[in-house]
């Protein structure tokens, strides 16, 4: 049919990235050990999440690790039903953004709750998790 003729390319391209985490590896190490920490600039005191080695406020590269805190208030959420190709094996998942006591926001899955029960303003808690490949990550659960 006119307009339907395509050359189905023989060449495939598969991309998998090795993402450097050297400068903030303590975040992942702590997460593996069950703790959530983040960076605090030792010069201006700015606390960032996600952690970053260079302060976006004063540009200092000196920082220390502080507890992130785990108690959060739900700001907004969604449930993803049409997932990306690399999440094809996942059941529909709820994603939430929560505000921590220190004022920082975190985006993560909200687990162990039905969509109908999720409400803005509800209390949540961050918990460490590990993927089946052994990669650490964190999720929210209802507090």
């Amino acid at each position: 049919m006119p307009g339907e003729e395509v050359l189905h390319s023989r060449r495939t391209l598969s991309l998998r990235f090795d993402i450097p985490i050297s400068r903030t590896h303590e975040f992942w190490d702590a997460l593996k050990a069950g703790r959530l920490v983040t960076t605090k600039c030792t010069k201006c005191g700015n606390v960032t999440f996600p952690p970053q080695a260079d302060c976006p406020k004063c540009s200092s590269g000196e920082f220390e690790w502080v507890d992130l805190g785990t108690e959060a208030k739900l700001l907004t959420y969604t449930q993803v039903l049409i997932t990306p190709a690399s999440f094809a094996d996942s059941d529909p998942y709820i994603i939430a953004i929560g505000k921590l006591a220190n004022g920082l926001n975190v985006l993560a899955w909200l687990e162990g709750i039905a969509l109908e029960a999720v409400k803005p303003g509800m209390a949540m808690r961050l918990e460490p998790r590990s993927s089946k490949e052994g990669n650490p990550y964190y999720v929210f659960v209802a507090a």
Binding site: I19, L107, L115, P120
Partner: protein, 386 residues
Amino acid sequence: MSRVAIVGIGHSKFGKRTDVNVGELAFESIRQAVDDAGVDKKDIDNVVVGSAGGWYEESLPAVVVDEYAGLSSVGAMRVEAACASGSAAVKAACDSIRGGGADVAMAVGLEKMTEVDTMTSIELIGRAGSYMWEFENYGMTFPAYYALYAVAHMDRFGTTEEDMSRVAVKAHHYGAMNPLAQFQKEITLDKALGSQVVSWPLKLYDACPITDGSAAVILASEETAKKLTDTPIWIKGIGYSSDSANLSRRGDYVGLGATVSAAERAYAAAKISPQSVDVATAHDCFTIAEIMAYEDLGFCKKGEGAKMIREGQTELGGKIPVNLDGGLKAKGHPIGATGVSMAVEITKQLRQEAGSRQASIKNGIGLVHNVGGTGHYAYVTVLARE
């Protein structure tokens, strides 16, 4: 600052374009724009291609397009500002004239998204944020990003799923009047409300489609523009801004800060207020995005966007008609092409060439609002007859 005008426009058919390759698709628009401007191709000094890329086979679209179009040894580059790449291309082309490096420049918006399968497209768009913190472990999708805004807007202002569906109904109404649109069929409110949930509360009809398409505008210096045409459409002001890659670093989720600051800068540069805009395109990649755009652009107060759509204030004949070309929702959203397509539409409107979709032009001012990502980038361009 020296004045720059749009003197030629071109626009391909939007949709699933398996009938053309990248070069052929871009040339559909380039040929029309060159003819419309009445310029010789050799008089074009600079070509800026806006394209996000990654879903079609060419890594260097700018030179592939220029070669196909027979534009030899012209200034060339590709620019990326996600879904605002087209507006970034218009700005870069405009700046090259203002800076004296070009007398005539062309901005080409281009995207070919259907050469990979749909799931791969969704994957690539979903990575448009802060990869490590939003995608690697949490599989964000583009609808999911805007769904987070929709839920917050519903919670704060009482905006409803029905309000969002009304935006889709409006888009399809005008899409049905635009022969270049991907979707040219009216839909009912019930059909939109009953469509498949993609990322709650956003449904299939809240979302723009995956689209192939191109658009082109030719810009010229004041002196050359006046020689070329009796109806130059002047670039009165461009405002641009950005926001954090990571959504968790935003202050709230009921509007796009990048749009607010880009709009303020554009209004200041053009020395106008939002009330003097006759017709606009707003970046409706999702229906909630159009509702927030009304507010962030100053067409209404914060929280009153849903009221505007309920009352028909953004329809033809309303207070300020928005997206009379069908918007991203019905016209389609070929990422890099969209900003240029919007400039083409507003140029047509200001030239009074929009036919049955023609808005009433009182002040001679139109506005292009183009967002990249989830408010990661924002460009607001004010165009005018004078």
